[in-house]
Assembly symmetry: C3
């Protein structure tokens, strides 16, 4: 491999960890415990699984602080999951290689390309596009007119960025995703015909956002649909017009967010959840998978269900849901018993 | 801008509205109240928000009939939402500019192009395709053999229209959408192997239909999957084989409609709703978001929930759902109390 | 048509059926009962619908065993649905016509093409790709570096196969589908920033798999996301990283399967169902549409609802759900009656 080697010491510094063992050991790769080999560092998430280290064939292991020693060199860290992500990323990192604009790509005449750029064959880039340094554009990508793309951004195969949209730095957009499709807005007359409301806004995606495959972010009716920095969106997600997603949100696969809804920062939406339009979810709100959210949510709220409830209430209600047939039976029985008791009582009253 | 100017009088006629103010005023653009400037007309949906007009920097405002006068010229209309959609559309309208077939597009030899056409670089059009006047085909679009496309239709970047499908006039299909993928149909033998059932039908999309991004409309097993005129479909929607959608339906994002289901006209399906196969929803049926519909529905039915119920019943049931833990507790308590009462009664009977 | 003709006898052998009528009759096509004409064979699924045969204008009909004679030649079979799928497929079958690599396609220099291949204009194939015989690659397809594609596989327009993924033989992938997008995995620090976990695995798709349009199969974090032979996936489905789907599963439209979940063979997931991560569904599990599955499931389990329950329990609970307002009313009434009864009792006790 072309991977650069790093000393255990360098990696421990990156991970803010403590070394037990040879700090000068050279590491060239990263692999799970089971498959690690020569030159590899691996990781162990839970101290209770320390027995997994026996038979380990790699060089070193990132471990939680609770493990104080091991049969192999270790880096002890607060969060092995996070530390291993950082170290693995460093080990994989390669310098940008500018492949230039392939002669089988098409670029509008008025678009100026930076020095450091890779545009693959059969990518199409419109007029007056503004492209940063070290951008990679794969085959089949279509970039519309007047788009802005920041430094170090990666557009995977068959992505579409429609006219006028603005993409930040270090953004990754996976294949098939569409940025800047028209928002869904119509006005209906009294005969039931729909007139399209023009969608003249844009999409603005800030730095360090990642968007999965075959997702959609609609352009605003006016102004901008906005995805703030550090937010990570999964596959097949729908973001409607004029939605604003705060910083560092996590939007899991197949979520749908309706128009003009605003999310604070670090909001987490579980898979297939649906969020109605024109509401606000405060910072740190967590929404369970398949939930349906219809109301504003206070910062930190944890909710689930469709329509959504506070998570604890939802979990308790869901347990009772399965017992509904039993409850219905109990209720019928109680009615009958009570009626009997009243009848008896009636009878005994009458006979008194 | 190249926008044509219109007099307030011309716009009022289009919107069937009444002017208060200078009817000869020239309007060149459309913008929301907050951002309107020189030459712009804006709109106000609710009479109760008339105070928003103070500080308005545009030229004129479309208002509801209930507002009789204002500090600026107004067009009074029955439905400001609809009127503004019509006026905005008129103001944005540009004559079709035929850019021809780009030399970097590919067109099958047997396909004849009309005079008035725009085919972008890296679009691919098959053999024997029949294309109307003033059609726009963006980059990355793939049109299969024997497709028919009507006048004034717009296919956005990376759309796929598979072989034999028929697209009407003034249709808009957004990026990434696939028209004419095979329907999902298999016959399973007694060992559990699936044999594909050939899907030899087409998709027929009528005039004035709009389909969002990354949606799918499957071709029929035999005959045609059909989307009738004026229907508007959002992003990431699944339309299975042999579905028929009536005129002017609204199908919101992430809806799935299973095979051979028929919708009447002006049916509205809320986001993420799922409709089972081989059923019929009558004209004007309204289905709530995330609903699951398993049965035929009479015209005008309003339903919600999964499995779906009449909307009012669903709303009431959903409220009780959250109270289930409480109901279960009450029920346990009642059982206990009733048992005590019976025991007492028993005892007092025995002791009599 | 160019279709080859087959005798009724040949078709009956394929379908393991018995002929009543002229076994030498030549059949050239397949059509539904209503539209069948000269040379066509058709099929009838249920014996009770035998009256549909009157007025039939085709040549012969595939019927269930229970029909012993008919006014037209028949092939009697155990499963007309399966038999017709096999016969229709045979009748449609054409020899592969190698159209070669179109000069407007792009193929990496190090990729060697087999003799028998069709690569359409504006398809893009990377470096070191290994392609089998009789593969068809349509326009707009992007195949990344180091991909392996087996014999007789068909990639429809605008499909993306990302670097390193392995596709088996006789696989069909419909338009817009993305194979090998990065899995969704991040580690979050105590300030709420997300660090991407590198996704260095691949996707491996085995023989005879079919995947619908605009679906996504994410590459593994390490190792492989795996779809085993004969599994059929519908449109807009999400398969997360490190998922394993067993042989001959049926995954209906808009299903989402979270990371590291394993399905046995012949598992059926209804439309819009969601399956949580890191669980196992045994062979033959059936999951209802829109279900939410959070736990391991034994082979053969039939489940429904969100969160899911055993199917029978779910159906019963769903019926009661609609009656919740009534149950709540009954419960209130019972409480009141019981309180009255107790009060009376109390009173009579005191007065004794």
């Amino acid at each position: 491999m072309n991977h650069k080697n790093f000393s255990l010491k360098e990696l421990a510094e990156l991970a803010e960890g403590e070394i037990t063992g040879n700090a000068e050991l050279l590491i060239s790769g990263f692999a799970p415990l089971e498959t690690a080999g020569d030159g590899d560092i691996s990781f162990l998430v839970k101290a209770g699984q320390a027995d997994k280290l026996s038979g380990f064939k790699g060089c070193a292991v990132i471990v939680p602080m609770a493990i104080e020693e091991a049969p192999v060199p270790i880096i002890r860290v607060q969060d092995p999951y996070l530390a291993s992500a950082r170290i693995h990323t460093l080990l994989l990192k390669k310098p940008f290689v500018a492949e230039g604009v392939h002669e089988r790509a098409w670029v509008g005449e008025s678009t100026k390309m930076p020095e450091q750029i890779s545009v693959a064959p059969l990518a199409s880039i419109g007029e007056r596009v503004n492209i940063g340094e070290r951008v990679t554009i794969e085959s089949g990508v279509v970039v519309g007119n007047d788009v802005h793309i920041g430094d170090d951004t990666l557009l995977k195969a068959n992505v579409t960025i429609a006219e006028g949209c603005r993409i930040g730095k270090r953004v990754i957009i996976h294949s098939g995703t569409v940025i800047g499709s028209d928002g869904y807005g119509y006005a209906t007359d009294n005969k039931g015909y729909h007139t399209k409301r023009p969608q003249v806004g844009i999409v603005q995606i800030d730095d360090d956002v990642e968007i999965g495959a075959n997702s959609c972010v609609d352009r605003a009716a006016y102004g901008a649909t906005r995805i703030k920095s550090g937010t990570k969106i999964d596959n097949l997600v729908q973001i409607a017009h004029n939605v604003v997603l705060g910083e560092n949100c996590l939007i899991v696969s197949q979520v749908g967010i309706s128009g003009s809804t605003t999310l604070g920062r670090n909001v987490v939406l579980g898979g297939q959840a649906g969020i109605t339009g024109h509401i606000t979810l405060g910072d740190g709100v967590m929404v369970g998978a398949q939930s349906g959210v219809h109301n504003n949510q206070q910062p930190g709220a944890m909710i689930g269900g469709s329509p959504s409830l506070p998570m604890k209430q939802f979990v308790r209600a869901a347990i009772q849901y399965g017992k509904l047939p039993e409850m219905a039976r109990d209720l019928r029985k109680l009615k009958k018993e009570l009626a009997e008791l009243r009848a008896e009582k009636e009878h005994s009253n009458n006979s008194e």
